[in-house]
């Protein structure tokens, strides 16, 4: 499943991955792939603009970490991001439930 299929849900996925543990972009993409068992195999270049947008919105914060052999930008969810994630999770659960109710018939 690529970025086009996930349009509108990428923010929810990124916040969900990062709320467990702060991480840099490469690790975020790895976790997305691992946790979805390969279903969410994103074009990696699409993840960084989303991370930057979430940071500008105040939902993420970031800092440089000097991990050898190169320094990386590590992202973490802010307090506002946690609140937004809780709302998005509820909305998604309601949406998924309604979809399931319709398509299961």
């Amino acid at each position: 499943m690529g970025a086009t299929d996930l349009r509108g849900q990428i923010d929810l996925l990124l916040l969900s991955v990062l709320v467990a543990e702060p991480a840099h972009g490469y690790r975020v993409i790895e976790r997305l792939r691992e946790q979805s068992e390969g279903t969410f195999d994103l074009t990696e270049g699409t993840v960084y603009p989303a991370l930057h947008r979430l940071e500008r919105s105040g939902l993420l914060e970031s800092h440089w970490a000097d991990d050898a052999p190169r320094r990386r930008r590590v992202y973490a969810v802010t307090q506002a991001g946690r609140g937004s994630l809780a709302t998005r999770r509820r909305d998604w659960a309601a949406f998924a439930g309604a979809m399931q109710a319709v398509i299961a018939q």
């Binding site: 840099h24 074009t43 270049g45 930057h52 947008r53 105040g58 990386r72 506002a80 998005r88 909305d91």
Partner: protein, 226 residues
């Protein structure tokens, strides 16, 4: 391959200054991690088309404006407070000497409300969580103050009697516009209605902008904006 991808990306990136350097450094690190794990061709393939990625870093003006709505609301609130200062000065002048109504009014309602608004706005501008947390109490304080003014309850009742007296004096004697009493008379209706409803509207907008809070819909759920 990585250098060629980054050069292509750099050519199309419409982001400037420190942010540009940061974006390029992040993607460079990402590509080298990918190359170490899967080889350069696969790392570049996974990253996607350089031009498309570069373009997606350029936010539309409307998106940027929406993302900054909390700070814009804070600036609007601070501007409205600054614009109200001459009125506050007039009230203070009317309240002294001889009458303590204006002072009591300031102390009981306006000063705490203004202080909460100021702290909240400064916190929002610095993206501190306190700013959003104070937005709902601020709306409540503004609502109470507006209700007191609009329902003509004490201590505002005595204050507006002073205005009425000044208005009468203005009508009878054509007093000077430099006289605070005359100025207050000119603004009596604005203070009572326009300022109260304006402050309520502004505080409601501020709450929406900094927290994403909206009234409940019919299904009982709130809409999320952030």
């Amino acid at each position: 391959m990585i250098e060629r991808w980054l050069a292509e990306f750099d050519r199309h990136l419409r982001v400037h200054g420190r942010r540009r350097r940061r974006v390029i450094e992040e993607l460079d690190a990402h590509l080298r991690d990918g190359a170490a794990a899967h080889g350069e061709p696969e790392a570049v393939r996974r990253m996607g088309d350089a031009r498309t990625v570069a373009v997606s870093f350029t936010p539309r003006a409307a998106d940027r404006l929406f993302e900054q709505r909390d700070r814009l609301a804070a600036l609007l609130m601070l501007s409205a407070m600054a614009a109200s200062l001459p009125l506050a000065r007039t009230m203070e002048q009317l309240g002294s000497p001889g009458s303590s109504h204006a002072f009591a009014w300031f102390l009981a309602f306006l000063t705490p409300t203004a202080a909460v608004a100021l702290v909240s706005c400064l916190a929002v501008l610095r993206r501190r969580p306190l700013g959003a947390r104070l937005a709902a109490p601020l709306l409540a304080m503004v609502a109470v103050t507006a209700a007191v003014v609009l329902l003509d309850l004490p201590p505002s009742r005595a204050e507006f009697r002073t205005y009425t007296a000044a208005e009468t004096a203005q009508t009878r004697h054509q007093c000077s516009a430099a006289d605070p009493g005359c100025v207050a008379a000119d603004h009596a209706s604005e203070i009572r209605i326009n300022y109260s409803l304006g402050a309520l509207t502004l505080a409601g907008f501020y709450l929406w902008a900094v927290t994403g809070w909206t009234p409940r819909r019919r299904d009982g759920r709130r809409r999320a904006i952030a």
